[in-house]
């Protein structure tokens, strides 16, 4: 087995557009949970409306792609308001239930046959992002030793990582301001914030909208990345990858989701390539593992890694140890 090849595959996974997209969606989730304490278990729902908002605007209404992305983000604002208005005055668990349910309901609505003329039903939508690739300034692949990125991937990586870093800067600015201070106060104790004259509901709503919009932007990028979307790409497990990424990197840290996503994708692609290599080299007895098991095994390994991390670095890879010494709640 060529370990160098395995590593280069893993590095491509860690730096590829998916890692950036997941990091972006996790930054949104971090806005919700890390800074405001909102339990959003349906971030994938925001990604879904972002992706479909983009694709449908282009295909059905003939919008330019950039306008489609804006429509996708606007859809996230609407979704956040629908979710937030009835639940944000209640205890945190109501939002958790509402988000998890909404994400699934959305998926079923988008894949249903009555929506098929617009959403393409279970087959989804394809070929709506051609204009994005027409703008590609890269003309050839980039080769760094065994590492090779095609021009298409390079263009996507540039845009996706660029947007992700911009989002991180935006979050940094917001959090290191009086607005961010109120947000963190709401996370710690809503009643205390209220007693000091802060409109807690409004702040929670703003955080929900902002994090949701970042999720929708990630969804739009995901759609552009694959040029094809189906509702079943937006299953609940995506939300849980995002939670894993956020916790892995360190919740309530600006760079947490980015580090988390890079590590998550590195481990995932590394294990995948490694197991495949090991299997074809005959290191693993045939009866123990068949190639179709690899997908499950690598997630089990990531899960195990997360458990170990929680035991030894409960605040995440770049978590604040000082914060950890506090017994929160």
């Amino acid at each position: 087995m060529d370990i160098l090849a395995v590593l280069s595959v893993a590095i491509r996974g860690a730096l590829g557009p998916e890692a950036a997209i997941y990091a972006l969606a996790a930054i949104g989730l971090n806005m919700h949970f890390g800074y405001t304490g909102l339990l959003n278990f349906g971030q994938v729902g925001f990604m879904l409306v972002g992706a479909y908002g983009t694709a449908i605007s282009v295909l059905s209404f003939g919008f330019p792609l950039w306008a489609g992305v804006l429509v996708g983000m606007a859809c996230a604002v609407v979704l956040a308001l629908i979710l937030g208005v009835p639940t944000l005055r209640l205890r945190g668990d109501y939002l958790a239930i509402a988000t998890i349910a909404a994400a699934e309901v959305l998926r079923y609505v988008y894949r249903s046959s009555f929506a098929e003329p617009v959403t393409g039903g279970v087959y989804g939508l394809v070929q709506f992002a051609g204009s994005f690739y027409e703008l590609n300034p890269f003309s050839g692949p980039l080769e760094l030793g065994p590492l090779r990125f095609g021009d298409r991937a390079l263009w996507l990586m540039t845009v996706a990582w660029g947007i992700t870093l911009l989002a991180a800067v935006l979050v940094w600015l917001l959090i290191h301001s009086p607005w961010g201070r109120v947000l963190r106060a709401v996370r710690e104790d809503e009643e205390a914030a209220r007693s000091l004259g802060k409109n807690v509901f409004a702040y929670k709503m703003q955080a929900l909208v902002l994090g949701g919009v970042l999720g929708a932007l990630a969804g739009a990028l995901l759609a552009i990345n694959s040029q094809a979307i189906t509702p079943d790409a937006f299953i609940p497990i995506i939300t849980f990858y995002l939670w894993t990424i956020m916790i892995l990197g360190g919740a309530s840290r600006v760079l947490g989701p980015i580090i988390g996503s890079i590590v998550f994708w590195f481990l995932l692609t590394f294990l995948d390539a490694f197991l495949r290599g090991a299997m074809s080299a005959g290191w693993i007895p045939g009866g123990l593992l068949v190639p179709s098991d690899i997908g499950a095994v690598r997630f089990a390994a990531v899960g195990l890694g997360l458990m170990l991390l929680m035991m030894f670095r409960p605040a995440g890879l770049i978590g604040n140890r000082k914060e950890l010494r506090l017994d929160v709640r």
Binding site: L170, L173, L174, S177, P178, W179, G180, R181, V182, R184, A185, R187, E188, D189, E191, A192, A193, R194, S195, L196, G197, K198, N199, V200, Q206, L210, K322, E323, R325, L326, D327, V328
Partner: protein, 310 residues
């Protein structure tokens, strides 16, 4: 310990005692003003005050079968220290919760500064100038002490989402708030905790932090729910000094307190709750002798004896 330091400590103690005596002999300007204002007021429950900052009418709150609060009429005189006393479970904290909007009464109306604020949400009541602290402290654990205090400042331009991105628009105000917060930290002996998370503070320190934080709002009226509970006696003295100073500056203070010595030494007016009702109110000296108050405090005790079969 050397004789020198011993003598020094004795001298210091004497100075403190002397100061206290002088203090007792000569009430502050605020205390005199309060006493004058309340001079003609009779000590009957629900009595009208000459210049009330808070007026509550027919407030009722029941929890299942428990009558937590049932206040027909209560007025709080502006610029005084009013103490709420009463046995455990008398409804003092519940009354605080009601008038600050943290709990909704079954019925009742109340007005602050002459404006009806019935049913307003807590943050709007706080902004109107009536701020409370909690009996069970609510320190914002993963914010530093300084951040806890800075949060209290009102009218912060940087608290708007879009404005927060324009640092120059709020940087000057932020610096001003920082220095005000630092002053208060100093006043409450918390300067050494400035950059520590509030979660690392002791129970007494949290009480102090919460009171300082409420003062950052610069309210006209502050409601303190057992501010001295768990604070060491030496600090209690200075805390009482601060509370009196606030009154002298014109702030209205309502505090719940169980320590009779504290109540007698600083309050201008005392309101006694029992089983949700105001059973007595008056000047501290009158309350001390009031038979209803004595009954309320000893009543449970007596009832126990009566039920005792032996």
């Amino acid at each position: 310990m050397s004789d020198d330091t011993h003598a020094e400590i004795v001298a210091q103690r004497e100075a403190v005692v002397e100061q206290e005596r002088a203090h007792e002999a000569e009430p502050s300007a605020g205390a005199r003003r309060a006493a004058q204002a309340l001079a003609g007021v009779a000590n009957t429950p629900g009595v009208a005050k000459p210049d009330p900052i808070l007026v509550a009418d027919d407030m009722a709150r029941h929890f299942g079968g428990v009558r937590a609060v049932e206040v027909e009429h209560l007025e709080v005189q502006r610029g005084t220290i009013t103490a709420l006393i009463g046995p455990n479970g008398a409804g003092k904290s519940t009354f605080f919760n009601l008038i600050t909007g943290f709990d909704r009464p079954d019925s009742g109306r109340w007005a602050f500064e002459g404006r009806d604020i019935t049913g307003r949400p807590p943050h709007r009541i706080a902004r109107a100038g009536m701020v409370r602290t909690f009996q069970l402290t609510k320190a914002l654990t993963r914010l530093t002490s300084l951040e806890n205090l800075m949060l209290g400042a009102t009218g912060q331009r940087g608290e708007g989402m879009l404005a927060s991105l324009l640092r120059p628009s709020w940087a000057a105000q932020e610096a001003q708030i920082t220095s005000r917060a630092e002053e208060l930290l100093d006043r409450f002996n918390l300067t050494h905790m400035r950059d520590e998370f509030a979660g690392t503070m002791s129970g007494g320190q949290r009480k102090l932090l919460e009171m300082a934080r409420a003062l950052m709002v610069q309210p006209q009226m502050i409601l303190l729910d057992e501010p001295m509970a768990g604070v060491n006696p030496a600090l209690t003295q200075s805390l009482l000094g601060h509370i009196e100073a606030l009154r002298d500056e014109g702030m209205t203070i309502v505090l719940v307190e169980h320590d009779m010595d504290v109540i007698m030494s600083i309050s201008d007016w005392v309101v006694c709750f029992a089983q949700g009702q105001v059973i007595a109110e008056g000047r501290p000296d009158d309350i001390r002798k009031d038979s209803a108050v004595i009954d309320a405090y000893l009543g449970t005790h007596r009832a126990l004896h009566e039920e005792d079969p032996s």
